[in-house]
């Protein structure tokens, strides 16, 4: 027996929202996309009863919804901007720096990295979500981590690898 819709929402809505924010959404867009994700998930919940794999399943929906959003935004000629006004001031600076750094990553590297760091998925789960092999996931996460280290920590005086 799977979770009820309310349990599913309460347990995962912050993770989905933060993942979408870190991907580059404005807060209002991230909220809209989060809504879409849970509407779709709850519509399909009756046929999905594997509690152990709920989060990868949700994150796959979120990722697909994000890709649809990017495609439609680019079709309409809109830019995807991030709004950090909901954060506390010190966090705003961190988020802006992180956003710039994440923006320089290869899109798939960024996806894979955020599924690991924000959603907490394992390599095998990420591989399923992104249709990759676990080895490819490991390599992409490491590559993203090294690139972020270079961009985030070098300005603070650290030397890159």
């Amino acid at each position: 027996m799977g979770r009820s819709p309310s349990e599913l929402f309460d347990r995962y809505h912050r993770t989905v929202f933060r993942y979408l924010c870190r991907l580059g959404s404005r807060r209002d867009v991230a909220e809209d996309l989060t809504q879409d994700v849970f509407v779709r998930a709850i519509q399909a919940l009756g046929s999905y009863r594997d509690e152990e794999r709920e989060l990868p399943w949700l994150m796959r929906i979120a990722r697909n919804r994000w890709i649809d959003h990017i495609r439609s935004a680019s079709t309409r000629g809109q830019s995807v901007e991030v709004d950090e006004t909901g954060s506390a001031p010190p966090q705003q600076l961190i988020n802006l720096g992180l956003r710039e750094a994440l923006g320089t990553l290869d899109a798939l590297d960024r996806d894979v990295f955020l599924l690991r760091e924000v959603a907490g998925l394992g390599y095998i789960e990420i591989a399923e979500v992104c249709s990759l092999t676990p080895d490819a996931v490991r390599s992409r996460i490491h590559r993203a981590r090294c690139a972020l280290r270079l961009q985030l920590l070098c300005p603070m005086g650290r030397s890159p690898v």
Partner: protein
């Protein structure tokens, strides 16, 4: 050099790692710096205070969670059936009686008249 440190990434991610290789990397200052930097990067990424607005959460939660299947709707449906059945029965009864007794709505026509006269064919009872 980055590939050498891939074992550090795997360690951070809770994956199985080659212990000898890990010890070799951590034996170097660069390896230790890399591990510390990866941890700092993780802290930056996870130090996210972004939450959806509470109003949004409340609204979305109430719209997503199906209402508790109460008895109101079935009770209303049952009441509607009863009312319809009553009205239908009344209507059919009225029309059936009307069909059986044509002209029942007006008094019957007079066919004969009886006349009684005092002291002739009836008398008072003392």
């Amino acid at each position: 050099m980055n590939d050498v440190f891939e074992v550090l990434s795997a360690l951070l991610d809770g994956e199985d790692v080659d212990i000898e290789r890990l010890m070799g990397v951590l034996a170097t200052a660069d390896g230790r710096d890399a591990l510390a930097d990866f941890l700092r990067t993780r802290q930056v990424v996870r130090a996210d205070d972004a939450d959806p607005h509470p109003e949004f959460v409340a609204r979305l939660r109430s719209s997503l969670v199906p209402r508790r299947p109460g008895l109101v709707r079935p009770a209303l449906a049952a009441a509607a059936v009863l009312v319809l059945a009553f009205l239908g029965g009344w209507w059919m009864g009225v029309h059936r009686d009307a069909a059986r007794a044509p002209g029942a709505a007006s008094p019957p026509a007079v066919t004969r008249t009886l006349t009684f006269e005092r002291n002739v064919d009836w008398h008072d009872v003392p």
